[in-house]
């Protein structure tokens, strides 16, 4: 029993200590960090790093880019995936099955496999250094998993609900918005959380397609801070905190949903 509690504590500390160190380091100066990397800052917390990072970097711009890309990518992935899932569920025949197979095939192919031809395609289409370009690629890369999860869910909905609305004279679109979407909300919101985390944190696509500071998202900007600040960990960690803040805050409040949503994405992906 004691051994179990001890192990739990050790694991908890392995997670907590690095996080506390990140927080503490962000309110220390570089000299203090060199002198005593793990100690408290002398003379209280200083928020100079936070001020400096906003002065030296276009942080607000990166933040805005990440927000725009994430919001559009998540909502359009969900909308398009829900439409496809609805189509497959309603058709319920071999065409639907083939389309389902075509879409879910995408789950097997890692983004890194297509990065080379995708890069030249984006170049040809003039979609590099563009938030729209990032959003379009994001949508198509997460469509497979979203189609997979939402189709799985919609197929469990009782058919009678759809049939009943047909008798009422509802067309496909009305059936989609009035029946399929509302009933699938639990699955849609779980998928939404999974997608939020994924798109907010994505590095590969911005790394491939964005070179202009005006369009960089937080993970890419953060990566490049390493080049500028080298081992200036107070600055790097200030960046880490700002970039992670939205997800961390959301996690604190919606923890249960995060755990369920992300795990469902992992299991089904």
């Amino acid at each position: 029993m004691l051994f179990r509690k001890f192990s739990l504590l050790i694991y908890a500390l392995l997670i907590l200590i690095p996080l506390v160190v990140v927080l503490l380091t962000s309110v220390k100066t570089l000299q203090e960090t060199f002198r005593d990397p793990l100690g408290l800052p002398d003379g209280g917390f200083k928020f100079d790093n936070y001020v400096a990072i906003f002065q030296e970097q276009t942080m607000a711009g990166y933040f805005l880019n990440s927000t725009i890309v994430t919001l559009f990518s998540v909502s359009f992935t969900l909308l398009l995936a829900a439409m496809v899932a609805f189509g497959i569920t309603r058709m319920n025949n071999w065409i639907g099955n083939v389309l389902f197979a075509v879409f879910t095939l995408g789950m097997m192919v890692p983004a890194q496999v297509i990065m080379v031809p995708l890069y030249s395609l984006m170049l040809d289409l003039g979609l590099t250094n563009s938030l729209l370009g990032l959003i379009l690629v994001n949508i198509s890369s997460t469509l497979p998993i979203a189609v997979f999860i939402l189709t799985g869910f919609m197929k469990t909905l009782p058919k009678e609900l759809f049939e009943a609305s047909t008798i009422d004279g509802a067309g496909n679109w009305k059936m989609f918005t009035k029946v399929a979407i509302p009933l699938s909300l639990p699955s849609i919101s779980a998928t939404a959380i999974f997608l939020f985390v994924m798109h907010w944190n994505d590095l590969l696509y911005p790394l491939l397609f964005i070179t202009d500071n005006a369009y960089k998202t937080l993970p890419l900007a953060l990566l490049e801070f390493q080049g500028q600040y080298s081992t200036n960990y107070p600055m790097l960690f200030t960046g880490v905190i700002i970039a992670s803040a939205p997800m961390v805050i959301a996690y604190v409040f919606l923890q249960r949903y995060f755990v369920a949503g992300i795990t469902a994405g992992a299991v089904k992906g």
Partner: protein, 291 residues
């Protein structure tokens, strides 16, 4: 019941995007893998299977990369699965403390790879890093290392970071699997006087097999896709000792502009992933248990 033809419109936007930004690049990767395209010029030549021959026989870095990927994968799969399972068994009951601990262990999953890379760069830092300081504190300073700079151990340092990053998520999958095992089976085992180990061996483990398969398969694929983490922590160095297939594709394509060759490696990469996924599906089928 007849369904109106307008149902096809529901596929249209998704299918257009997916075909353009996914299917088309996938097929062109196959096409370019038989060429010597440099990614910039419009002219290129067909070189048959030369790129593939080169990958398997003439490119020692690629072969090293496969080895690195295997080291990374095996370390992550073994440690991550053991840690996740061991801790899942302890925090299985939904008490307040356990729910809190699960959420804490899960926490790193929501961070970006770049953030995790920075945190662990600080932990591994040879001069002011937490790890070396702790080792010194407990009198094990002879173990202190340049964790990411030593080409013999850097890949394992990265693997440990990956475990820290994702073990919590696997733990949740195990907890879900464990909670699905009917309580009565444990009661029966208890009545029959089974020891703890016997209970684990004959009740828990067989019924946990589907979750274990998911965890192992997911972890395996995840470790092939650990591009972000490796890229941000070591960039494949020192001396290509942490280069994995994904980062190598990036280097070949975007640093030495051999798009044709990079495409061939991409196709090999895709075949490896498809093989693992196929084995995963097969294992899941055969592991299905009935009570």
């Amino acid at each position: 019941m007849r369904i109106s033809k307008s149902i096809y419109l529901f596929f249209l936007p998704g299918l257009v995007l997916y075909s353009l930004f996914f299917l088309y690049p996938t097929i062109s990767a196959l096409f370019y893998s038989f060429t010597d395209w440099d990614g910039l010029s419009t002219a290129f030549q067909f070189v048959g299977i030369d790129n593939y021959t080169r990958a398997f026989t003439g490119d020692s870095i690629f072969q090293k990369t496969i080895g690195n990927n295997l080291k990374f994968m095996l370390t992550v799969v073994v440690f991550q699965t053991l840690v996740a399972l061991a801790f899942a068994l302890i925090v299985i009951k939904n008490t307040k403390t356990n729910v809190f601990l699960r959420a804490l262990y899960f926490f790193p999953t929501i961070l970006s790879s770049v953030s995790v890379a920075f945190i662990w760069a600080f932990i591994y830092d040879p001069s002011m890093g937490i790890l070396n300081q702790v080792l010194e504190l407990i009198g094990l300073d002879f173990l202190a290392q340049n964790w990411l700079g030593n080409s013999n151990i850097a890949i394992y340092s990265l693997a440990i970071t990956q475990v820290w990053f994702h073990a919590g998520q696997m733990l949740i999958i195990f907890v879900a699997g464990l909670q699905a095992i009917p309580e009565e089976l444990y009661e029966v085992a208890k009545i029959e006087g089974a020891s703890k180990w016997q209970t684990f061996k004959s009740v828990t483990w067989p019924l946990l097999a589907p979750s274990a398969t998911i965890v192992v398969a997911y972890t395996t694929i995840q470790s092939f896709k650990a591009f972000d983490l490796v890229f941000a922590m070591t960039g494949g160095g020192p001396n290509n000792s942490t280069e994995i297939i994904a980062t190598y594709i990036y280097d070949v394509a975007f640093k030495s502009y051999q798009f044709g060759y990079a495409s061939a490696i991409s196709i090999i990469f895709m075949v490896i992933i498809a093989l693992i996924t196929y084995l995963q599906f097969k294992a899941l089928r055969s592991d299905r248990v009935s009570y």
